[in-house]
């Protein structure tokens, strides 16, 4: 064990953590590290400490460290979490942490998951704003108190961390399923009065692995670090899609 002199002196030693960390790709294994436990220490701090003091080859992903960029999510003791805002004291069990790459995504190496299919599904769910074709019309007047705007606003703070995607069993059981984040995004666009292609958005989420594949298990909502409710968004989509189907609009 190396000295912890590199750490700020203000932090207090609380003993030692044993940290099992996934190493390698899909056929990798857990490797154990001993890390000093400090007050206000986040799981990301632990990973960074391991990389700086014990093993510089440890691969993981982070950028902002303040819960905005959505890049540092991983499985912490079995549950998906944003590690930069997760305090060790809240999640360690008897001084133990088990860190793995996000579930439901291929592993690149160690704690870095390949996010490609996660973001491909945002595209497949038509999670892209479709502007109204003409520029000469008047501005859209958006009443912030309207039901539609409230529904859209409830879902727009997604940081794309894929915690919900990793929490979702339907994704594991049906790898084509678009997943909570992409569907939540589609729901915000369907409720955006400025979007010009509502029926296009509905058509995209009505496909075979679309919103109706969801079983309302609620793990997405339970784990969303930003307190969003993809489960609610998906029930909204189910209703809108069925309505469109019954009206013959699909």
């Amino acid at each position: 064990m190396q000295s912890s002199a590199a750490q700020p002196s203000a932090s207090t030693e609380l003993g030692e953590l044993t940290v099992s960390v996934w190493r390698g790709a899909a056929d990798g294994r857990l490797e154990s590290f001993r890390v000093p436990h400090r007050t206000s220490q986040t799981v990301l701090d632990v990973v960074t400490w391991i990389q700086r003091h014990l093993d510089p080859t440890l691969t993981y992903r982070f950028a902002c460290r303040v819960g905005m960029c959505g890049s540092c999510a991983m499985m912490v003791n079995g549950a998906p979490r944003w590690t930069c805002r997760t305090h060790v004291s809240r999640v360690a069990k008897d001084g133990h942490l088990e860190l793995r790459p996000l579930r439901n995504l291929p592993v690149v190496k160690d704690l870095a998951a390949d996010m490609t299919e996660f973001f491909d599904k945002w595209r497949d769910a038509y999670g892209r704003f479709s502007p109204t074709p003409t520029a000469d019309g008047d501005f859209h007047r958006v009443d912030p108190e309207s039901a539609e705007r409230k529904a859209a606003s409830a879902g727009i703070e997604c940081i794309g961390c894929a915690v919900c995607y990793a929490a979702c069993d339907v994704v594991s059981w049906n790898p084509d399923y678009l997943g909570p984040a992409a569907l939540n995004r589609a729901w915000t666009l369907i409720n955006d009065v400025r979007d010009a292609d509502r029926s296009g958005h509905l058509a995209a989420v009505a496909d075979d692995a679309g919103c109706h594949a969801c079983h309302s298990q609620g793990s997405c909502t339970k784990h969303c670090p930003n307190g969003l409710n993809p489960s609610m968004a998906i029930t909204g989509l189910k209703k809108s899609v069925l309505g469109a189907l019954l009206r013959g609009d699909l």
Partner: protein, 117 residues
């Protein structure tokens, strides 16, 4: 970390239990359904149906029947919950609804046990 605690880590919450109970009760009912209908088909001959029904008087069979009644009741109440979730405006009272669904189904099962013995 044990496999069980890893599996439970992201799933141990009411909405997931509700899903699991609904799926397993549905599976049980779907497998029981053909047998149930097969036995009712015996009613063309009263004696053979009565022969079967006297078999169901055994305590252990009564207990199994109670299990079936609970499966049916919990699939009904859980199903009504799903329909409310998917077709009515969103409610933040999901946990309460799940508790009511489980509670009513359990009460129906106890009532059956009370009346059957």
């Amino acid at each position: 970390m044990s496999t069980l605690s890893r599996v439970a880590a992201s799933r141990n919450h009411p909405a997931y239990w509700a899903f699991l109970v609904h799926r397993l009760s549905g599976l049980g009912l779907a497998l029981f359904l053909p047998l149930h209908l097969l036995v009712l088909g015996l009613a063309v001959e009263r004696a053979s149906l009565d022969g079967f029904l006297s078999w169901t008087d055994r305590p252990l069979v009564k207990l199994a029947e109670t299990g079936l009644v609970v499966l049916l009741a919990v699939h009904l109440t859980g199903g009504l919950r799903v329909l409310a979730l998917e077709f009515l405006p969103w409610s933040d009272a999901q946990k309460t609804r799940i508790a009511i669904a489980f509670g009513v189904a359990l009460a129906v099962g106890l009532l059956f046990l009370l009346l059957a013995v």
